[in-house]
Amino acid sequence: MFTADDFSALLITLKLATISTLILLLLGTPLAWWLAHSRWRFKFLIEAVIALPLVLPPTVIGFYLLITLGPNGPIGGMMSYLGLQPLAFTFSGLVIGSVFYSMPFVIQPLQNAFSTIGQRPLEVAATLGASPMDRFFSIALPLARPGFLTATVLGFAHTLGEFGVVLMIGGNIPSNTQVLSIAIYDHVEAMEYTQAHWISGALLIFSFLLLISVYALNRRFSVQYK
């Protein structure tokens, strides 16, 4: 059914999706909060940059990351100079690529959730003695729960299906940077259709179940919060 390489590809994929989603939630929450509340006139520039991965071919993102992170790129070069291993063709490089690639899927739901809450509940909390940090954790976070759920699942599911960026930046090193989507590609190349069927089917069902749970839970929340 599954080969040893397939299993390690599965583990790498889950690890990659989990780590990327966590990083995106950590970095994306303050950024989404800022986007929802800032009145800076050039805010749309940032919003456009965040939405870029939605329209760009993943290979383009992967190509530029490869150039930047490779031994001859500005960041990769600096890391070589400091005696560190360049990030291209490593798991860390994959994480960086995934974070860029899945960014809109996490930030946009969070930004929408924060905008929907609006200023009023936060103002009420302020008049009741809550400091800005307190207001964020006691009011904004719980009220934005449906947004966080959507962001987490979309970020996770989208990273699962990543192909182009990973191929460009991670290479295809079994049990190191080979993820499921690339394992499927390899199996098809090698005419191993049974293997490709198993992995594809598993990914399809898993992603479908994830999305069903998001939409079902969000429906429950939206009924509750109406």
Binding site: A126, L128, G129, L143
Partner: protein, 355 residues
Amino acid sequence: MTIDVKLAINRGDFSLNFDFSIPSQGVTAIFGPSGCGKTSLLRMIAGLDHIPNAYLNINGQCWQDGQYFLAPHKRSIGYVFQEPSLFSHLTIQQNLEYGLKRLKTKSSLISLTSTIELLAIGHLLTRKPQQLSGGEQQRVAIARALVTSPDILLLDEPLAALDHVLKEEILPYLESLQDTLDIPILYVSHSRNEVARLADHLLLLKAGRIEASGSVNQLFARLDLDLAHDSATETLISAVVVKHDDDFQLSHLHFSGGCFYVTRSPLAVGSHARLQIFARDVSITLEKQSNTSILNIFPAQIDKMVSEGNTQITLRLIIGNIPVLARITRKSTHDLGLHQGKAVFAQIKSVALLS
């Protein structure tokens, strides 16, 4: 103890210019048409809007001066918005406790239990806000603002979003607030009726500046303000219940100009009450009528007369030392030969007891 405010904004079409000092006790109504700066003023006092170079002092505590700006969560305020704005992820009980948990000093003057009792929301505590009616939600919002025993309670048109029935449901609770609590209340409103029923002091706003400030009774009886030239123009008189006549089911209320007879009130003898007299319900005679069904007739002197269009005239009468407005036709004024300083009798057809 006073509330002192000084602020100026000039941004093209929007300008505010306030400089006033009002007593920090009882209910002060901030009254004026939409867009006159009422809400901006309240938000500035709460610290929700930071207006540069403004000055704000509440009972000797400086909240804003020059560069100094005390953050809203450090101000001891209760704020009720037009919409209840309850926290939808918390139960009613948790909504009420939100402010209590964040109190620096635990010495709350008003207990949670008595607030719940005052606003009659005890049966709602375990519910979520979205399960409450609009009126119930607003009562919870008022209670939530009260339980922290703030130095000042700011109400921003708390009844404006409610229909007439719900307004009448909440007004009695607001009236009992001022009797029960010793917290100064700033009440933003554009409803004349709410002001007449609730306010002691009035801050009249017009196009971003203060038009007048003073006791409600005095301002309502001033002919130079727009208030006196409304179709619902009324005078408010403070009086004391002196006697109940159980035979005829009437109460006798004393004021400096004499004694009013009104429908039997549940108020105890000795309590203070506010009487409301619409100008259109006051008529003038030259001699005291004895063969009339009208009970409340007082000797009065005409203090001032102002025309309302071509047919009507508003008279400012002095009864005892209390001003009362009357609205009569220009023809009557002419036929009776009324003029400033003339002694007449005021017949008051109907009097409402407000509290």
